[in-house]
């Protein structure tokens, strides 16, 4: 509807602001370098988490720190079929998290999928492209799930017709 564009723009600007990362060696263990948002031991390098939501079902949680950002997305799931589809789709992606590089293997509680971007990623990849990717992902995932739902319904109709036609 007409909140989609403002929602994606708000996520884009918040993400661009949150993705200002620099290298930060662990203050607790010598010679270790750990994403501070995941470790959570040094309180002074953690920033306030921000939530951008379109409505109660669609939200993005952006938690930032000095060297890492965690982005968690709650996908819109209107009914049971969409819930199952979203779960299976995100599970498919999360099992292949290594080839995704920035994907987290386990989503944060209350959300469907989580990304972890560290300063090493922003050093190797363009920041604006990373933000573009996340926004595109949010748009595409909704399209994919509605496409899958349509094809499920179409297949179910064909199967039901051909099965029940023998009883006519």
């Amino acid at each position: 509807s007409n909140t989609l564009r403002p929602y994606l723009n708000a996520v884009r600007s918040t993400l661009t602001a949150a993705m200002c990362l620099e290298n930060f060696a662990s203050q607790i263990v010598e010679k270790h370098n750990v994403p501070e948002i995941e470790a959570g031991n040094t309180k002074e390098v953690l920033l306030n988490p921000l939530v951008v939501s379109r409505n109660e079902n669609e939200q993005v949680l952006i938690e930032s720190s000095i060297n890492s950002v965690r982005i968690s997305i709650r996908i819109k799931q209107a009914d049971d079929i969409e819930r199952i589809l979203a779960h299976k789709f995100t599970r498919f992606l999360m099992m292949r998290a290594e080839s995704f590089i920035i994907l987290r293997r386990v989503p944060i509680k209350g959300y469907d999928i989580s990304f972890l971007v560290t300063n090493f990623h922003t050093e190797q990849m363009y920041k604006h492209k990373l933000v573009d990717f996340i926004i595109e992902f949010m748009e595409e995932v909704d399209k994919e799930i509605s496409e899958m739902k349509l094809s499920i319904n179409a297949r179910a109709r064909i199967v039901a017709e051909s099965y029940l036609s023998q009883f006519v």
Partner: protein, 153 residues
């Protein structure tokens, strides 16, 4: 060390001290802050009915109830701000934002994010359109200031 069940760093007294010191310490007591918010409410609502959003916003954004143990004052102040945001017409948003002082604009952005985090209580569509205008005016720096300022709402 996966067999350790206690998170020993969480129980360390020194860590608690650091987290305590990072909290915002107000010079006023909790009751004083809560009464300030209540007194503002009447003046702000009067300005809204007169249609003067700028004045209402300036009153509501002055002296925000920072600190711990002030949830009710913070949520009532947030409701006040959201009333102003919903009462303003869409064409006027840009001019209202342009008339705000930098400090007030940052506090307004804090309230916008406060509202977006609670979609059940606040109107996200209105908040998102205000967010666009405020960031247009204040730039990404205003978002960074919301994220890094320990004084929440």
């Amino acid at each position: 060390m996966a067999h350790r069940k206690l998170a020993i760093d969480g129980l360390d007294a020194e860590n608690q001290e650091i987290t305590e010191q990072m909290q915002f310490m107000s010079t006023k007591s909790n009751e004083e802050v809560a009464s300030i918010v209540d007194q503002k409410a009447a003046a702000v609502r009067a300005a809204i009915t007169r249609g003067n959003s700028i004045e209402a916003l300036e009153k509501a954004l002055a002296d925000p109830p920072y600190g711990r143990g002030l949830e009710s004052a913070q949520s009532s102040n947030a409701q006040l701000v959201s009333e102003i945001l919903m009462a303003t017409r869409a064409q006027d948003i840009a001019s209202v934002v342009a008339n705000l002082v930098d400090e007030d604009r940052d506090v307004l952005l804090k309230y916008i994010y406060h509202g977006l985090a609670r979609p059940a209580e606040f109107n996200c569509g209105v908040l998102l359109s205000w967010h666009e205008r405020v960031v247009e005016n204040g730039g990404l720096g205003s978002i960074v200031r919301v994220m890094s300022d320990r004084r929440i709402v």
